[in-house]
Symmetry: C2
Subunit: 235 residues, 2 copies
DNA sequence: TCCTACGATTGGTCGGACCAGTCTACGGGA
DNA sequence: TCCCGTAGACTGGTCCGACCAATCGTAGGA
């Protein structure tokens, strides 16, 4: 799928903004200027600017022009582009992402344990059993853990929370689409999964939260390493 | 500021989608059809659709048409429109928002206490002192607490976290722009602020987290009530 | 020196044209 | 009768040019 003309233009402008080549408050070239410099039609340029405005990267005012906004006021959706900016990716940003993801999922666990119905508890226990039995490849484990996180955010019965997690997850998947091969310690995993399982049965929110946190941290270091070495983007 | 033509169209379509008048996977009318039914030009319709696509509410395929996507896969940015959908607002959604906001800010506190420099600790203590001294109106208290949350997310040195919080905050401000009048118990507030202050001095992350949580919950119940009764939207 | 007013610049909307994928329904072949 | 390929209708993508409306900058006047 070849990117559309507006996408190309939007991407170029976006990268310039994210790289700080336009300071906050600074004015972008006019639509007509951008049209001539990019060789595209003004409609296409306009569409690109609308996208950037939707990302809250710029503010467009009739007669005024398009001005760059402060980065931290932008939409969460720019994060994926921030991650795409460097190759290999900015590991600091990846670490920050992992911290927030952990925060959100463990927060969801607290709510989920209290609110989940029996069906959901059962589903979660099945997933945990698959992790515990030790016969999965590391890629499969990651998949199961992802399913588990999905189930948790669903059971938390909090749409806002679910959307935040989905946004974070989509962000990561978009940037690192390949399945990764990591090495987990089967014994440690089985132990943690068992602890989470017990917490679920007893509906012990704090224990479940702690267990899920340990689960998420189990493969974290290697994940960061793998991501950092991943090299070329599959564009 | 009168909304632009594309904004009107986008809003109408968005509301229809959020209200479930289009099921996920269903196809929207063609750009040309929408143009005739709305009385606008196809360019304006197109711009509206681009915005919805950017919100990940729809997926546009060349030759294919625009199809509705599942709501929980959409951008966090649709939440503000979800909140705007009802008046008075959906209190369940407001509660969910408050839960997530609390989660994010308290999570930020943990990081912030460890990473803040002396300057930031000092600034935070000044804000806490203003809360504690009891001579502020409730609106001012809310303002100070917001500054405090801002400072915390800054000190957490986590851009992802900061953007999530800013997104949540912008969402709330956009929906409830009026300053609210709440009643806090000065004594309780002073006590909590003092606890947080001590935690900051001792760099005790857990105590700070707990204190900030209590601070955020102090006015919560009344905030929900006030928001629920707020009535007309200042559109 | 300050302010006003006008003209240039910029975004907003329109209409139409043509290209490039996608979808569908018709008709031919098995 | 059923399946399948294809032609044509349909849909989004891009371009062009025109005009309106808000803003901005500056030259000229008070």
């Amino acid at each position: 799928m070849t990117p559309s003309r507006p996408d190309e233009i939007a991407r170029a402008l976006r990268d310039d903004i994210l790289r700080g080549r336009y300071a906050p408050g600074e004015r972008l070239p006019s639509e007509r200027d951008l049209a001539t410099t990019t060789g595209a039609n003004r409609s296409s340029v306009r569409e690109a600017l609308v996208k950037l405005e939707q990302l809250r990267l710029i503010e467009i005012r009739r007669g005024g022009g398009a001005r760059v906004r402060p980065l931290d006021r932008a939409s969460l959706d720019v994060l994926v582009h921030l991650l795409e900016l460097e190759d290999p990716p900015d590991l600091v940003l990846v670490e920050q992402w992992l911290d927030v993801h952990e925060l959100v999922v463990t927060g969801a666990v607290r709510l989920a344990v209290e609110r989940a119905d029996e069906q959901q508890i059962g589903d979660a226990r099945l997933l945990l059993a698959r992790i515990a039995n030790g016969h999965l490849s590391s890629a499969e484990i990651l998949g199961v853990m992802d399913e588990l996180a999905e189930l948790i955010s669903l059971a938390s019965r909090n749409l806002v929370l679910r959307m935040v997690r989905n946004a974070l997850r989509a962000l990561f998947d978009q940037r690192f689409p390949e399945r990764r091969e990591l090495q987990f310690s089967p014994r440690a995993l089985a132990e943690i999964a068992g602890a989470v399982d017990r917490a679920l049965v007893e509906r012990d929110a704090l224990a479940a939260e702690e267990g899920v946190r340990r689960l998420m941290r189990a493969g974290r270091e290697r994940l960061v390493k793998s991501v950092g070495a991943s090299g070329a983007l599959p564009r």
